[in-house]
Point group: C2
Chain length 196, copies 2
DNA sequence: TGTTCTTCATACTAATTAGTATTTTTTATG
DNA sequence: CATAAAAAATACTAATTAGTATGAAGAACA
């Protein structure tokens, strides 16, 4: 990777971490260049505005991560019910990067940015739709394979799962304690079993 | 109501509306006093800091609203399953104040403030716990009345319902379209029926 | 090696921010 | 009505904000 490309990536990664923990609005460019040890000139060479950098984080950090960790595994899934539980459980309880206190990066950005920034909304919508579509396809496949009841409506379930996930992530932020995840997961498992 | 008390209430109400639509951090005191037509002197007479005002909004606007519209009705409920559906459905589809685009005021504040402001966290936790407790009690009552299966764990269900609500509110912000609520509600009804 | 384009560094600006100091007006009460 | 306290108005400050102007290194290539 060229030195310039490396500078750009460093900015995106460090800025993403700051934004994940502090929020987008409250993360200043001065703070980003201080923690990355990149000068303002370098920053504005790579990104015309702060918002352009924000969208780049979604495109170049969040989307690829999403693809690797959730989309691809779900596409391989034969038994979606069990795999959904494992995926959500892993995300909530095991993932080494995500922290209870700071919630879900995608959920956070959606909450903060989507009502008044179109570029963010579009990028986030794409990302979320990709996840949703993958879940829907997995359920349909599960129905064909006899793992999921035929009267289940895949789109409804996809919305329900993703909503629950975002919601419990927000709950976690409030309580700052993984125990809420445990309680949630128990009911989540029960719900998933009704789809079998 | 005294003129001073009226000034205070006006500030809280208008500030709440601004914060609901724009977020807390991005709502400036200058903007609040501009829309309320109250001077800075008056603002700082009533509130020592911006954060003090923020907490006052939770205590004096959100909590009473919550109590009137959700807690009290739920406490009266005989058949919680049906009433939960109606309550959430009303909130999502009918409530005249809440807008898809702006999500849930409590969820928004939690998302934005809880990781780094303790005063906000505490006030919000109290509020949410009150709602949660009310739901739990309603389920227990429903179990005694034969409306809810005995093997249902009330706390799990309460978390599951509230999470789903917060999550779909966030989804709504992203899509800015009530149709996501409709899809959600269909699955929500199915889920609730499994508790009968 | 000299030149050109890419990448980065430095110093600045104008606007906005929360909050303060001080004075003036309004209200309540004797 | 006089007076004191409550409530509000005005003008300010210091810090922070995103973004800019300009020039200096660095790399690529003739």
């Amino acid at each position: 990777m060229s030195k310039a490309a490396n500078t750009r990536l460093t900015i995106l990664q460090k800025a993403f971490e700051l934004i994940y923990t502090k929020g987008y609005q409250t993360t200043s460019i001065d703070e980003i260049i201080a923690t990355t040890k990149v000068t303002k000139g370098a920053f504005y060479y790579h990104f015309k505005t702060k918002d352009e950098m924000g969208v780049a984080i979604i495109e170049e950090i969040l989307k690829p991560t999403m693809l690797e960790n959730f989309i691809k595994p779900t596409e391989k899934s034969q038994n979606p019910i069990d795999d959904f539980y494992n995926m959500i459980s892993y995300l909530l309880m095991e993932d080494p990067f995500l922290q209870v206190k700071y919630g879900c990066p995608v959920g956070n950005l959606t909450q903060e940015m989507s009502p008044w920034n179109n570029k963010f909304s579009e990028a986030l919508t794409e990302l979320v739709n990709q996840w949703k579509t993958t879940i829907i396809k997995a359920i349909e496949k599960g129905q064909n394979g006899g793992f999921v009841r035929k009267d289940v409506v895949p789109e409804q379930v996809a919305f329900f799962i993703l909503s629950g996930y975002w919601g419990i992530r927000n709950f976690g932020k409030l309580q700052n304690d993984k125990s809420v995840y445990v309680v949630y997961l128990q009911e989540f498992k029960k719900y998933l079993n009704t789809l079998k």
